[in-house]
Amino acid sequence: MADVIKKATRESYGEALRDLAEKYPRLVVLDADLAAATKTGIFKKAYPERFFDCGIAEANMMGVAAGLAASGMIPFASTFAMFAAGRAYEIVRNSIGYPHLNVKIGATHAGISVGEDGATHQCNEDIALMRTIPGMTVIVPSDDVEARAAVEAAILHEGPVYMRFGRLAAPVLNDPATYQFELGKGITLRESDQDEITIIATGLMVGEAVSAADALKADGISARVINIHTIKPIDKELICKAAGETGRIITVEEHSIIGGLGSAVADCVTECCPVPVTRIGVNDEFGHSGPAVDLLKEFGLSSENIIATVKKVLNK
């Protein structure tokens, strides 16, 4: 994939906000002193009068967003995932979730790929936290094209939305000319009648899952690949169909295996079609400092580990 274009989804987020601002005049953007990192600075440069820095005060930012939404605006509140979902959790729950206000949370720097900043900033728990809030939509885009589409889908959806973006440049997998984003609908990327396993991935791991499936194909193993960009509401129908047809599931996410995609998929199949689910993700541990690409390998968030895990569970 040497010639594949790479772009961090946080960059796509900032650009999408700028590009959609004219179409959606009620859109305003809040940040907590991280505009340069979350890329809302791109919006700020184009629309300074619609951008509000809240300073290093995430709790208040979420509350201000709630008040703006209660007065008809569509606020995007941005900071790192650690502070959006972590520090401000209770404000998101009580001031945004409970009144079901139309706030969009743009959380960047999610997961272990934050890299050198280390464990304090590597949020591997945000999906788990956000998906427990009633009425909260949770989206994890896999690339630039999906991230841009997700931002507009979030605007068009009435209600709170949590969007998870990454710091690390990710390969652009989707073709903007043909790509269609449908909230709550997974996307099947590899499929055949011979599929003996389904790899369900989200975010940065979608590219790794596709690479793994293509390599497995060469070894005579047919694996279905599903991109679940909307963790909540999750595409039960697609997941249960895959469970029934392939009999075995592996989930891959740059998030704790507790409470994230793996848990959400397990929740689904337990009710509709119980099959073994193997979860690849960050195990019950904190991350640490290091280059993002090295950390991803170390924590098994790689096509190599997906391939090895598939072979292991299939005894091949």
Partner: protein
């Protein structure tokens, strides 16, 4: 203040206090003490200050009120019921299963502008509403009421900083300074004093209202607040927790306890007597 108007407000405030007692008595729980300390304030705001219409509760041009000290919902509900946002009978099912009136304010209740109750959060939402008013060039005003214990929450000061930075002069925060919180006197629990100096240091215009149960003084404070531009206003109102019910006044034990049948009767008798005196 005009004497006839003042008398009318005083009578309404007694009715609001009766509503607080009715709600908490039937709920067998709730927070009468802090509800009674803001009964006069809420009466003044909803009957003499705010541009609101019970027939059109979602009017985008209306003034807004966020009860940041959300546990005193019985007072807000009582005044909204008086105003006709919903039937007064609803007060009797406060906190009951299936009831309209939740234990803490809920945005889905007619007239309630924001869900609140987790302390420290309402003022942030009020800032957002005030900011939206500025952005949309609306001339509505946003009021928020905080407890003096509540301002121990760090988020309050994040919001205070934000409101001053963005010059939200369409925002007025009232700090209900009754001096008591669940664990005792605010000065003994973990003192937030001096409250006036703190808000001043955060860039607010501060008005100290030394008797939150005197409508002339309340009126004077809000009229003064109206003249301030370029910064948000904090009105620190010195109030009496449990005001209007003799055995509840200044008693911290009435922060979060409902009256039993006998106490309810006694309280209602006192309030009825107060009303009769006003009507005499």
């Amino acid at each position: 203040m005009d004497e006839t108007l003042k008398k009318q407000l005083m009578k309404t405030a007694v009715n609001v206090r009766m509503g607080v007692l009715t709600g908490t008595f039937h709920a067998k729980s709730g927070h009468p003490g802090g509800s009674l300390s803001i009964a006069d304030l809420l009466t003044y705001l909803y009957y003499n200050k705010m541009n609101v219409n019970a027939q059109n509760p979602d009017d985008e041009n209306r003034d807004r009120l966020v009860l940041s000290k959300g546990h005193t919902a019985p007072a807000l509900y009582a005044v909204l019921a008086e105003k006709g946002y919903f039937d007064k009978k609803e007060l009797e099912s406060l906190r009951h299963i299936g009831a309209l009136l939740q234990g803490h304010p809920c945005i889905h209740i007619p007239g309630v502008d924001m869900s609140s109750g987790s302390l420290g959060q309402g003022i942030s939402a009020a800032c957002g509403m005030a900011l939206a008013g500025k952005l949309n060039k609306k001339d509505y005003h946003v009021y928020t009421i905080l407890g003096d214990g509540e301002i121990e929450e760090g988020q309050v000061w994040e919001a205070a900083m934000f409101a001053a930075h963005y010059k939200l002069d369409n925002l007025t925060a009232v700090i209900d300074n009754n001096g008591l919180q669940i664990d005792g006197k605010i000065t003994e629990v973990c003192s937030p004093e001096p409250i006036d100096e703190k808000f001043r240091a955060f860039g607010w215009h501060v008005i100290v209202l030394d008797d939150a149960h005197d409508f002339d003084k309340i009126d004077e404070a809000f009229k003064k607040a109206e003249t301030i531009s370029g910064k948000p206003v904090a009105i620190i109102q010195k109030s009496i927790k449990g005001k209007g019910v003799s055995f509840m006044e200044n008693q911290v034990s009435w922060h979060g306890a409902a009256p039993n049948a006998e106490q309810y009767q006694q309280a209602m008798n006192e309030l009825k007597a107060a009303l009769a005196e006003l009507e005499a």
